[in-house]
């Protein structure tokens, strides 16, 4: 399967362990993510707060580039990027005048033919029934709390993915890998996102609740599909523990880490050794 691949700033920057994991894992499943040439910022962080049209134009250009470069599907592993891309596609789809305007601004035709996928959807495309037979090492000792974060399933009329309040698509993948996902309460609660930089206490507070709830429901790790969430829950776990006085020690895996491990890829190849919280 050939996909356009939009890394965004995260996967080329502070979360390049995610890219490492993603390439290793998807490669094993014969999925070929090909980075879009000359991609630009998706506008996730500031654009939508400052300038509405800019926030559409930026992702629109990436969609146009993907189409020009001959792709039909586009994987954006970061949910913020995928949400921005889907939002731009939806708004232009509904308003032909807007589409024309944006097309002239980005100097490319924004036709909306490219389908934007998040990581879980890529696994669904491969087919869970085709992943199951190639699982070499079932993750029988793992009890992950599947953490979706705020953007994978919301806003529901934009992303149109899974149930916005009670998603279960990641749990379905865990089941196929032989893990035992726990039932817990904070699947879609905010981790604090970009407040890591601007107002750290927010993250310490919000992410602490997530870790606490996961632990309380018997999880021995978390799994996530968002690089920002991973930073807040993994890299900051030490700070959270110090701030709250509680001990968690919960490894936080990317979804591709767990799929990769189950398929028999080594932890080093997946970059798991680069995570902050190590498995005990």
């Amino acid at each position: 399967m050939r996909l356009a691949y939009y890394p965004g700033c995260a996967l080329h920057g502070s979360s390049n362990d995610y890219e490492q994991s993603l390439r290793a894992c998807l490669g094993k499943l014969e999925v070929e993510p090909q980075e879009i040439q000359e991609w630009i910022c998706c506008g996730a962080t500031a654009a939508h707060a400052l300038n509405h049209k800019l926030s559409i134009a930026l992702p629109a250009r990436n969609l146009a580039l993907a189409e020009q470069q001959g792709f039909e599907d586009l994987l954006a592993p970061c949910p913020m990027c995928s949400m921005q891309l889907l939002k731009a596609a939806k708004l232009m789809d509904e308003d032909a005048g807007l589409r024309r305007e944006i097309s002239s601004v980005i100097e490319a035709e924004a036709s909306g033919r490219v389908k934007v996928l998040n990581l879980i959807q890529v696994f669904q495309r491969v087919g869970l029934d085709r992943i199951k037979p190639v699982v070499k090492k079932p993750l029988a000792d793992l009890k992950p709390a599947c953490y979706y974060g705020c953007l994978l399933t919301r806003p529901p009329d934009v992303v149109k993915f899974d149930d916005p309040e009670q998603p279960s698509s990641m749990e379905a993948i865990m089941a196929v890998l032989g893990a035992k996902p726990v039932d817990w309460n904070y699947r879609t609660e905010c981790c604090g996102a970009g407040m890591t930089m601007a107002k750290e206490e927010t993250v310490l507070e919000l992410s602490q609740r997530i870790l606490a709830d996961a632990q309380q429901h018997g999880a021995n790790c978390l799994v996530t599909a968002c690089p920002m969430c991973h930073v807040n829950l993994d890299m900051k776990q030490g700070d959270i523990e110090r701030h709250s006085g509680e001990r968690f020690g919960l490894p936080v895996y990317y979804l591709t880490d767990l799929v990769g491990l189950a398929l028999g890829i080594s932890a080093e190849e997946l970059g798991i050794d680069r995570h902050f919280v190590k498995k005990v």
Partner: protein, 665 residues
């Protein structure tokens, strides 16, 4: 008609200000056949009507055109007027020069010209009108009431007390409906069963009420005053004529742990059971899905124990026929099924944890908890561990007023019963705290606002204006996250019990019933009334009336009022010797009819039969279509599909309509 009278009304200023009534009257006088053409300030007034009558006599008029307001306003009035003067009431036409002319155009010359043309059309039409006589149809003076809840009970008692026979059909093993399961009712807090059960007994014992319990209506044929209903009596496996209600059978039944429908699964019942002690009829029924004898020929203890020999495992459904003249539909409601993730729009509220957490229940389930005869004998206990909840959260508008995943309408009763719930809770758990999340407080009935104030001021219920976003569980507490928009903060409450006020929906299967009866229903399944203000309990199907929650969400006082209204309408129907129906119905010229039966296939009321024409000696001449004058509602669809135009619609005949069109040439 060759002596037509035209009467142009000023309607005070309403018409005369824009239309030059004098000019219009004089223009109309020139139309061939018009004998007199006058104008007057208020045609519908006594002097105006007297003028019409006087002109009819003086000028020997044989048809009348009144140019004034809409026929929907006053056609009936003017029909009565001319009838008093000895003219057939169907020889009156109304030219609408007010709602459709003077009130919507401001250019005087244009409006006047248009008014003259409108009158001309009516003159040409009335010229072709036939004198018609009302149609008389016999009436069977028996009513069928479908549904034995409080509305059905009220309607049945009113009709039966007025001296007519009533057939009541109730789907559950006992009548009483939802009200029989309630604890105390607002705004008086009287015990629901205490006020209902005497009426239930009255129904059961009334000499003129024939009760089919555990039965459903399968088919209804016929028309107003002349219905035939097929009723399926489901197999009870207990002969209620022999059974004494002693209770030995359900005491001895070994299968005691079946979720009780009456308790909305908050309690258990045996496989042979009476739904509640005060049931009418107070006779048990066997659940064929769980009874060991019926499934695998085991057990049979109840049969052995029964001294009256009333158990009959070989029982089967029976279908009976009843002839009735009117139908009252009182099928009530069900609650929105919150937990089920339904496909499509009614997606359920999974985020509230209903069905996942045992201590999240809906309002009817709470009623059973609080009810003195309920599964906990009125003690408020958490379903999960039986402990007394010290903090209870009540969530309003679950499914109601929610365009995104619920229903758009307001369920009307939830604000009131939620306030009631907080009071009942507080009366039982003195150190408990009730929290209510609400959107608005709708308490418009008599004493209702005061009632809600009592809940807040006297019984200390805390009200938060905001919705609940999520309910999760932590240890054994339910974490309820909502908002208090008046304070501008999010609110998180740790509750022991959560009660969800689920939306009211019509009972399951009501749309199938509606189709049987030819009654319309809206997109939610609520049955349609004839007119929302002026005819709230009648339907567009003659002889079929509706009352209670099947029409729209409502509380007990309104259901009872509507039930009495439906009963009154039924009695009006039964009061006449014969039924008279408007004669503006279809007719088929049997000589010309080619018997293609396109009309027979098309008629929405199945009012056309396939018939034969015979000579007086009985020799077959030809096939023909024939209209049943009792059933035809006068839509004229048959006329449009008839290729030879053998079908005609009185009041809107081809001749009449074409004359109108051609007058506009």
């Amino acid at each position: 008609m060759s002596r037509i009278g035209v009467f142009v009304c000023w309607c005070g200023e309403n018409i005369a200000r824009t239309v030059d009534v004098a000019e219009v009257a004089s223009a109309s006088a020139k139309i061939p056949g018009v004998r007199c053409s006058v104008h007057y300030k208020y045609m519908c007034s006594d002097p105006g009507q007297a003028m019409i009558r006087e002109k009819i006599e003086r000028e020997r008029l044989d048809a009348v055109v009144v140019a004034s307001c809409s026929p929907h306003m006053h056609l009936k009035t003017f029909r009565k007027t001319v009838e008093r003067a000895g003219l057939n009431p169907y020889l009156v036409e109304m030219a609408n020069i007010r709602e459709q002319c003077s009130w919507v155009h401001h250019d005087r010359s244009q409006a006047t010209a248009k008014a003259a043309e409108i009158i001309r059309m009516s003159v040409e039409k009335v010229r072709q009108d036939h004198a018609l006589q009302p149609i008389r149809v016999p009436v069977t003076r028996r009513a069928m009431v479908i549904g034995g809840g409080v509305a059905g009970i009220q309607a049945a008692l009113d009709i039966a007390d007025a001296g007519y026979e009533v057939v009541m059909v109730e789907r559950e093993p006992s009548i009483g409906g939802k009200m029989a399961g309630l604890s105390e009712t607002f705004p008086t807090l009287d015990c629901s069963q205490c006020i209902l059960t005497p009426r239930m007994v009255e129904v059961g014992q009334h000499p003129r009420i024939k009760l089919y319990s555990y039965s459903e209506v399968e088919a209804v044929d016929g028309f107003i005053g002349n219905f035939t209903a097929k009723i399926r009596q489901k197999a009870r496996y207990v002969d209620i004529s022999k059974c004494t209600g002693c209770g030995e059978c359900w005491n001895v039944c070994p299968l005691k742990r079946n979720p009780s429908e009456f308790d909305f699964k908050m309690g258990m019942r045996p496989a042979i059971y009476v739904p509640f002690p005060q049931a009418v009829p107070a006779r048990p029924v066997i659940d064929s899905k769980t009874c060991a004898k019926l499934i695998r020929n085991g057990c049979g203890l109840c049969e052995k124990k029964c001294q009256a020999g009333a158990i009959n495992f070989k029982d089967t459904d029976k279908v009976v026929e009843e002839k009735i003249g009117a139908v009252v539909v009182a099928t009530g409601y069900q609650l929105y099924d919150i937990g089920k993730q339904q496909t499509g729009k009614l997606a359920g509220y999974g985020e509230y944890g209903y069905g996942k957490y045992k201590d999240v229940i809906d309002s009817l389930q709470f009623e059973r908890l609080v009810s003195a005869s309920g599964p906990t004998n009125g003690a408020i206990k958490r379903p999960s561990d039986g402990k007394e909840p010290k903090s209870v959260v009540f969530v309003s508008c679950v499914g109601s007023r929610d365009n995104a995943k619920g229903l758009s309408y307001c369920s009307k009763i939830c604000c009131m019963y939620t306030a009631k719930h907080t009071m009942l809770y507080k009366h039982k758990v003195h150190d408990g705290q009730a929290h209510v999340f609400y959107m608005d407080l709708r308490s418009g009935g008599k004493g209702y606002e005061e009632f809600v104030r009592r809940a807040i001021e006297q019984d200390g219920a805390k009200y938060y204006r905001g919705r609940v976003s999520k309910i999760t569980q932590q240890n054994s507490k339910l974490i309820v996250r909502g908002a208090d928009t008046l304070a501008g903060t999010p609110v998180t409450i740790e509750a022991d019990l959560v009660v969800l006020a689920a939306a009211m929906r019509p009972s399951p299967g009501v749309t199938d019933l509606a189709r049987m009866l030819n009654v319309g229903y809206d997109e939610h399944g609520f049955l349609l009334e004839s007119h929302p203000k002026l005819r709230p309990v009648e339907t567009n199907a003659g002889g079929v009336f509706i009352c209670g929650a099947c029409h729209s969400p409502k509380d007990i006082p309104e259901s009872v009022a509507q039930a009495s209204a439906a009963a009154a309408k039924t009695q009006i129907l039964f009061a006449a010797e014969e039924l008279t129906r408007e004669p503006e119905i279809a007719q088929i010229n049997e000589q010309m009819c080619a018997a293609c039966f396109a009309c027979y296939r098309t008629c929405p009321y199945h009012a056309i039969e396939q018939a034969e024409v015979h000579t007086p000696r009985g020799v077959f001449v030809k096939k023909t279509a024939r209209v049943n004058p009792g059933l035809c509602m006068g839509c004229g669809t048959c006329v449009a599909v008839c290729p030879s135009k053998s079908a005609e619609l009185e009041g809107f005949t081809e001749q009449e309509i074409y004359s109108m069109v051609e007058s506009l040439a």
